[in-house]
């Protein structure tokens, strides 16, 4: 088989699969978002219009929540990435032969049900939970405090905590690719460990850091499970609203319109980031 035939063999299956199970459903959803309701079946196209989008535009609290959810996602991604960096650094340069085992240990919690883990996490954060008990026992508090749970901060903290191990992976991959010779050269030239880190390691690992950041940021914008579990009355995020319209209200057209808006916004963020990355490459 020559390269030309190989090209077609390689391109057709993934393209077909993605077109069928990804593009097509999204197009269908876009169409549904232009409908008033689903009466008459799914594949009919009665009067299409922008009424759902109009309804969305005239509900400021939904749009505000979208912006808020993006900001929460931004914060979570930033903190998770920053917190994951030392983990990745440790595994890449300090753990030696045990790095593989440590990495596995890091990943195993992901094979326990997320729902159950967060339920248990609530036990730690709750008013009769571990944190409060410790603070009371050590005399810092007289009464249990409810600020660790059932609010938006709890959502942010829980999400960050859950993401750190995953965020470490792209950074680890980037760090492992740094030529040891570069590090040695820096040392030879008299750089202190700190300088070597700032001037050699960090810049070279930046693609991994960016990958990490976006890997956390993007799914978090649409997050809805964590707010349900620990967010309390005020912790709902945009994803909860979408979820509600699909699973509580059976209002697919409105849910689809909300989803399309979120999709557009996320694409905008990514496009912005792509611009920034190019800018950085141009600067360095």
């Amino acid at each position: 088989m020559d390269r030309r035939r190989a090209f077609w063999v390689l391109v057709v299956p993934p393209a077909l699969w993605l077109a069928a199970f990804f593009l097509l459903p999204l197009v269908l959803m876009a169409v549904v978002s232009f409908r008033a309701d689903l009466r008459g079946g799914l594949l009919t196209f009665p009067d299409l219009g922008l009424r759902q989008y109009a309804a969305l535009a005239s509900t400021p609290s939904f749009l505000r929540l979208l912006v808020l959810s993006s900001l929460v996602a931004l914060a979570v991604a930033a903190v998770a990435t920053a917190s994951a960096y030392p983990v990745a650094y440790f595994l890449a340069f300090r753990a030696g032969r045990r790095a593989g085992v440590y990495l596995l240990l890091l990943m195993v919690p992901f094979w326990t049900s997320y729902l159950l883990r967060v339920m248990a996490w609530k036990l730690i954060l709750g008013s009769s939970g571990v944190i409060n008990s410790l603070l009371i026992a050590s005399g810092v508090l007289d009464e249990p405090v409810s600020l660790f749970l059932y609010n938006r901060s709890a959502v942010g903290i829980t999400l960050t905590y859950v993401w750190i191990p995953f965020a470490a992976l792209p950074i680890l991959a980037a760090l492992q690719r740094i030529e040891p010779a570069l590090m040695e050269a820096a040392f030879d030239l008299g750089a202190t460990p700190l300088r070597r880190f700032l001037r050699v390691v960090l810049p070279l690992s930046l693609p991994g850091v960016l990958a990490s950041f976006f890997m956390v940021f993007i799914p978090t914008v649409g997050e809805y499970v964590t707010p349900l579990l620990v967010g309390g009355s005020r912790g709902s995020l945009y994803g909860n609203i979408i979820q509600d319209f699909f699973t509580k209200a059976a209002n697919w057209p409105l849910g689809s319109a909300l989803s399309m808006v979120m999709l557009a916004m996320t694409l905008a963020w990514v496009a912005l980031a792509a611009r920034l990355v190019n800018l950085r490459q141009w600067l360095t």
Binding site: R3, V11, W17, P25, L42, V108, M119, I218
Partner: protein, 269 residues
């Protein structure tokens, strides 16, 4: 000429490693704290997750074996994860080869398409796939869940394998072809062995992504629920909770042992 040992010693300066190591282990501790709590409650003689503890009991673990629905759901998750990670690894690797080794006009489009699933929230993708399957008259099943999981795993596979491919010199392949191998043989004998570890990690990531995934599974599961979907449904019944926790613990410990064994094997080679 720097003494190699000195470089090594300086690299392991005393202050930093204990700091970093401590950080790592504290994090690990925090990660496992909920799991330790779950383990505790899986032997607690109470149906709610509250303190004080009420005494040890093994009946939840015994109960797991008596719950065919529960075990089937766990099996379903494994099947879907295995199937979808296999297909995703295959398709993602194909796409990675295209991205890293070929130039063609629609390359940007293909890459964007392959990476886009990362950007679409699962609730949106799940709902739209439900629309699609309903419109096409396809019944919901483990297969529909698997199809969705494949879609969301492809980006991870693509990124992991493509970055590995980007690292090593294509001239190796050119050399092989110059020596008379056709492209298929070159792939098989030269490229695949080199990218094999990356492909393996990609498969593992794809498996992990699918196994506990529940937003898509909730929309697309039919008669056979995956474990997270089953779990969510069971949460309506308060007194089922400990049995679910026990199974989750069995699965976690089992996976941990499997993974450690695999790591042992890998290092032994």
């Amino acid at each position: 000429m720097a003494d190699v040992r000195r470089v090594g010693a300086a690299a392991r300066s005393p202050a930093a490693p204990s700091g970093l190591g401590l950080y790592f282990f504290v994090l690990l501790l925090l990660l496992y704290l909920p799991i330790a709590l779950l383990l505790l409650f899986s032997v607690n003689d109470n149906t709610t997750l509250t303190f004080p503890l009420r005494g040890l009991t093994g009946r939840w673990y015994a109960g797991v074996l008596a719950e065919p629905g529960l075990l089937r759901a766990a099996r379903n998750s494994r099947v879907v994860a295995a199937g979808s990670s296999l297909v995703a690894t295959l398709l993602g690797t194909m796409a990675a080869l295209l991205v890293a080794r070929f130039t063609f006009r629609a390359k940007l489009a293909l890459v964007s398409l392959a990476v886009l699933p990362l950007i679409v929230p699962f609730v949106v993708l799940g709902a739209s796939l439900l629309l699609l399957f309903s419109a096409a008259g396809i019944d919901r099943s483990l297969g529909t869940v698997g199809a969705a999981h494949t879609v969301i795993s492809i980006p991870y596979v693509l990124l992991i394998v493509a970055s590995r491919l980007a690292e090593f010199d294509p001239s190796l392949e050119e050399a092989a072809m110059d020596l008379g191998a056709d492209y298929l043989t070159t792939l098989r004998r030269v490229v695949v062995p080199i990218i094999a570890p990356a492909v393996a990690s990609a498969a593992l990531v794809a498996f992990t992504v699918s196994f506990d995934e529940f937003a898509l599974a909730l929309f697309l599961a039919g008669r056979d629920p995956t474990f997270p979907v089953y779990l969510l449904g069971q949460l309506r019944f308060a007194n089922r909770l400990p049995i679910l926790i026990s199974l989750a613990m069995v699965m976690t410990v089992g996976t941990l042992l499997l993974a450690l064994a695999a790591e042992r094997l890998r290092r032994a080679r």
